[in-house]
């Protein structure tokens, strides 16, 4: 598709910070409240009220800045972005323009060529969110709910370093993972706590000057980011190849039609008249504060991933999956500590069967019906040969649906592996006796028939015989 074209993408991620109260007021930020029940006088832009900055947002922004190796501005200022819209009560949004709180960071993703790739972070600044417009259910009117107005956002702006939709998604996922590790955002995309705008342009390969970009607004899932960008890339290339020109504009992604379309209405008179907000003073952050925040930084995904490979001898891809969220990695580490089995075996259970069930039921790892200790109990019984891997799946399903420990289920259902050689020997003898023809053929050189005999023995024992023992005995008896 884009052989002769180079794609250039920069993302502006809007990440809602997980504070209890709003950025400039003491109203609650809880999601899903009755309309306007969490919009206090400051959020409503009442005459005479004034903003006071929430200490927690400063700490959270600082934490993020340190996590992406950025500099924390010793002095940052808030500015007003002026425009009229019904979900913007004051007629201006308080944001940061010149002198943002975080500048010049970076992170690393797997690039399209499979190598590690550095993505620059231009800046991250604090701002307030707007309210919500509800267009249905009010006849000729639009209903305005200002509960979300004043919710703190960290806007994270990347350098135009991304070269494909896939890279954009990888970058966004990385940021998503980081903010959740830092516990500064719940990252909930359905609720709009984590969304992005994408600046997309294309240029002929080899050209240094950037092409004209379009800004894709409000992409609120990883899938939409990928689809919207891919659609936009194709649109721009086709447009240029047909002799047209890309216009700098804001475009909205329509997920139903899988296309982007122009939002000219938002473009009209785009003169935001930014100026320093006289109601707020410069935010001054000293080195001791930064150091104190640095002490609270958790181990971050990249470091943890490397450690998992090193310490647990995991496959790199598995380590990446397990460190995708702090909760998942915590689950794995607890499991690994409680089992005698190889960590890779434990990892396989988490990535395989457990993840499948979680996905199927739409649960987070924290909500798993089998906790790490219980799963360790199961893995240990495989490891000490109490049950086979096959029986283990049965036990696992029972643990998931009915609860209880692996040991209790094995005991109650009588699933313990038969390891008594004389008992297995008797069954092996019986099976050979019952199938004289196959026994003769095997002895005549049809080695493949061993599997048939193993199957028969396992059938007789209800799968509880140790497969290794069965193999060994059969070979002896048929030999």
């Amino acid at each position: 598709m884009s052989g002769n074209w180079e794609v250039v993408i920069g993302l502006e991620i809007h990440c809602q910070l997980a504070t209890k109260s709003k950025i400039f007021s003491g109203a609650s930020t809880a999601y899903g409240a009755d309309p306007n029940s969490q919009a206090c006088l400051v959020d409503l832009g009442y005459p005479g009220v004034l903003p006071v900055l929430n200490a927690e947002v400063v700490r959270m922004a600082t934490k993020f800045g340190l996590a992406v190796n950025a500099s924390i501005a010793p002095r940052s200022i808030f500015a007003r972005k002026n425009y009229f819209y019904p979900d913007l009560p004051k007629g201006y949004q308080i944001s940061q323009y010149e002198l943002p709180i975080v500048e010049g960071g970076e992170l690393f993703i797997h690039g399209d060529d499979g190598n590690e790739k550095r993505i620059g972070i231009t800046r991250a600044h604090l701002e307030e969110d707007a309210g919500k417009s509800v267009h249905e259910g009010f006849g000729d009117s639009t209903g305005i709910d200002l509960n979300r107005a004043g919710t703190p956002l960290l806007e994270i702006v990347s350098e135009p370093d991304l070269r494909s939709a896939k890279e954009a998604v990888a970058y966004m996922k990385k940021i998503h993972s980081i903010v959740r590790y830092l516990e500064i955002s719940d990252g909930n995309m359905q609720e709009g706590s984590f969304r992005c705008d994408a600046n997309v342009s294309v240029r002929p390969r080899g050209q240094t000057k950037l092409g004209t970009r379009a800004e894709l607004k409000n992409l609120n899932s990883f899938r939409f980011v990928e689809k919207a960008i891919n659609f936009e890339i194709e649109r721009q290339i086709e447009l240029i190849e047909d002799g047209g020109e890309v216009v700098q504009e804001t475009r909205l992604y329509d997920s139903d039609k899988d296309e982007t379309r122009s939002m000219r209405s938002k473009e009209e008179a785009n003169d935001y008249r930014y100026f320093p907000d006289p109601d707020l003073l410069p935010v001054e952050i000293d080195e001791s504060f930064v150091e104190a925040v640095r002490q609270t930084l958790p181990e971050l995904p990249d470091v943890k991933q490397a450690r998992f490979v090193e310490q647990y001898d995991l496959k790199a891809a598995d380590a990446e999956i397990l460190t995708g969220s702090r909760a998942l990695s915590d689950y794995f580490e607890k499991l690994a500590a409680a089992t005698d089995a190889k960590p890779q075996v434990a990892a396989n259970w988490v990535i395989g069967d457990l993840s499948a069930l979680l996905n199927k039921e739409g649960l987070e790892i924290q909500e798993s019906r089998i906790d790490a200790d219980a799963l360790a109990g199961l893995v240990n019984r495989i490891n000490d040969n109490t049950i086979s891997g096959k029986i283990a799946k049965e036990v696992f399903d029972a643990m998931w649906s009915d609860g209880g420990s692996a040991d209790d289920i094995i005991e109650a259902k009588g699933l313990k592996q038969i390891t008594d050689t004389s008992a297995i020997e008797a069954i092996v003898d019986a099976v050979i006796a019952a199938n004289p023809g196959q026994a003769a053929d095997y002895r005549g050189g049809k080695d493949k028939l061993l599997g048939f005999f193993v199957g028969q023995v396992m059938k007789e024992t209800g799968g509880k015989a140790n497969p290794g023992q069965v193999n060994k005995l059969l070979k002896e008896k048929l030999g």
Binding site: L41, L44, G45, Y46, P47, G48, V49, L50, P51, V52, L53, R80, N82, F84, P86, P89, K90, G91, Y92, I144, D271, R273, Y274, F275, P278, D279, L280, L281
Partner: protein, 484 residues
């Protein structure tokens, strides 16, 4: 009773000469009698005032009253007052009942003050003559054909006419000091950040400051002590200790270094006003102060600087009046744009619209650097001038206004003529300095004001100087005859 200052009334109440209820009833009677002539009030809160007065009387009997217990006060109608109409002199807030009290209002009430009503003002405090009020101009008690000045014109007229002993005001470019000068009373604008702006409907946030209008510097000191101090709801309020301003009044002027600004006596100043101001400076010199001639090289740029900074901030501050959550909404809006443009077009008066448009223009793409940023730099120069001056002197003294009160309608044709009224007061706002205007005599039968400006948080100094001047003179005891 009505001729007494707060101090005198407090003593009278303490002695039991009269009760708060009697005092309140007497003043409500005067407000009713003279209200129509002066048009000083937008709302009179007689009923709640009497309730508060009764509570004050009870508190006094119990010995639990605050420092202003039972004393009457009126608030400029841009202070939000819970459950009471708060119009800002505008049609757009014509039926706006504030759901909360401004910090100033709250602190006065907590100290026991009895609120008698809300005073008329230039619309959103944008004006120097009280003519931009949607509720009609206020007249000057000294001559009702004249303007009392503005924007706190209603507060000034009410105090000057002895309807009330004290009123709050706000001062963005001179809106307390200029009307105080033009009506022969005391007007104090504290240091920026000294008094909370929470609940003051914002005009220009980096310039607005609440203050008081009284008849004596002593009353101003008493009220400032109640109003001043940190407010956690205002990020720009200063965490600076509040001294006992009344105790500080006794400091003599002997040894005080008073700066006299060369530029203040240029041709812009009316000759008879200049003479009065010079006479008052001489009186202070006689009392032991020394006069030092100083230069404020950039002060001449204060008016144009102000008329970039203030409109810029106002254009943004007034965007919230959009007919959606409160305030005037036009009839049958066709669409969103029509709702905005007509609600605002109908709701704001001509001067407010001009300022919003000036501010929008100076912030708009292509003009920001040339106007807004430039003005912020010149503001720095002006501020620096003051800083340098205060290394040599303790206070700066001069005229408050270039002329005495002017006729209603006289300056409405040309906005610049009107803006130049504030030529001597605006500098203190740009630099955030405290300033006070005290009556210093009469020119052709009309009051003239002497302005004293001090360094940041030097309210004690300027109040003491004003108080000592009032011990030397009795200009402040004179009132307009028609309202005796």
């Amino acid at each position: 009773m009505h001729r007494q200052t707060l101090r005198g009334l407090y003593d009278g109440l303490s002695r039991g000469d009269f009760s708060s209820r009697e005092l309140t009833e007497a003043l409500l009677g005067r407000i009713e009698a003279h209200g129509a002539t002066l048009n000083a009030f937008i709302t009179v809160t007689a009923e709640s005032a009497l309730l508060q007065a009764d509570l004050a009387d009870k508190a006094r009997a119990n010995g639990t009253g605050g420092p202003l217990n039972g004393l009457p006060i009126v608030h400029k109608d841009l202070f939000c007052t819970k459950g009471v109409l708060t119009t800002c002199g505008s049609k757009i807030l014509g039926d706006f009942v504030s759901p909360y009290d401004a910090t100033v209002v709250q602190r006065m009430a907590d100290a026991g003050a009895v609120m008698l009503g809300k005073t008329n003002m230039d619309e959103f405090a944008m004006g120097s003559s009280n003519e931009t009020s949607f509720y009609g101009p206020v007249t000057n008690p000294w001559n009702t054909k004249l303007s009392p000045g503005g924007s706190s014109g209603g507060s000034a007229a009410a105090v000057a006419a002895r309807l009330v002993p004290a009123a709050t005001g706000t001062d963005t470019g001179g809106s307390i000091r200029q009307p105080a000068a033009l009506t022969g009373i005391v007007g104090l604008k504290p240091t920026y950040g000294r008094v909370s702006r929470y609940g003051m409907v914002a005009f220009a946030s980096s310039l607005d400051q609440a203050g008081v209008i009284t008849r004596s510097a002593e009353d101003a000191a008493l009220l400032l002590g109640v109003m001043a101090g940190l407010d956690k709801r205002d990020s720009t309020s200063a965490d600076h200790p509040v001294p006992d301003y009344v105790a500080g009044l006794s400091k003599p002027v002997k040894g005080l270094k008073i700066g006299v600004v060369r530029q203040h006596f240029d041709e812009g100043l009316d000759a008879s006003c200049a003479e009065r101001v010079r006479a008052s400076l001489a009186a202070l010199e006689d009392a032991g102060a020394s006069l030092v001639e100083i230069d404020l090289p950039s002060i001449g740029l204060s008016v144009p600087t102000y008329y970039v900074v203030a409109p810029a901030e106002c254009s943004s501050n007034l965007s919230r009046f959009d007919g959606v959550r409160f305030g005037h909404r036009c009839g049958d809006p066709e669409d969103l744009s029509d709702l905005y443009c007509r609600s605002r077009g109908e709701g704001f008066g001509a001067e407010v619209k001009r300022r919003i448009m000036t501010g929008t223009y100076v912030l708009s793409a292509g003009y920001y650097d040339a106007y807004y940023l430039k003005a912020q730099k010149v503001r720095q120069l002006i501020s620096r001038d003051f800083k340098n001056a205060f290394e040599k002197v303790d206070v700066i003294a001069g005229p408050t206004a270039p002329t005495t009160a002017f006729a209603i309608g006289e300056k409405t044709d040309d906005p610049i003529t009107m803006y130049l009224n504030d030529i001597y007061t605006i500098g203190a706002n740009l630099a955030g300095l405290p300033g006070i205007s005290v009556p210093c005599g009469f020119a052709d039968g009309l009051p003239v004001g002497l302005q004293l400006v001090g360094p940041h948080f030097a309210e004690e100094t300027i109040l003491a100087c004003a108080h000592q001047y009032q011990q030397l003179t009795d200009w402040h005891t004179e009132g307009p005859e028609d309202f005796a």
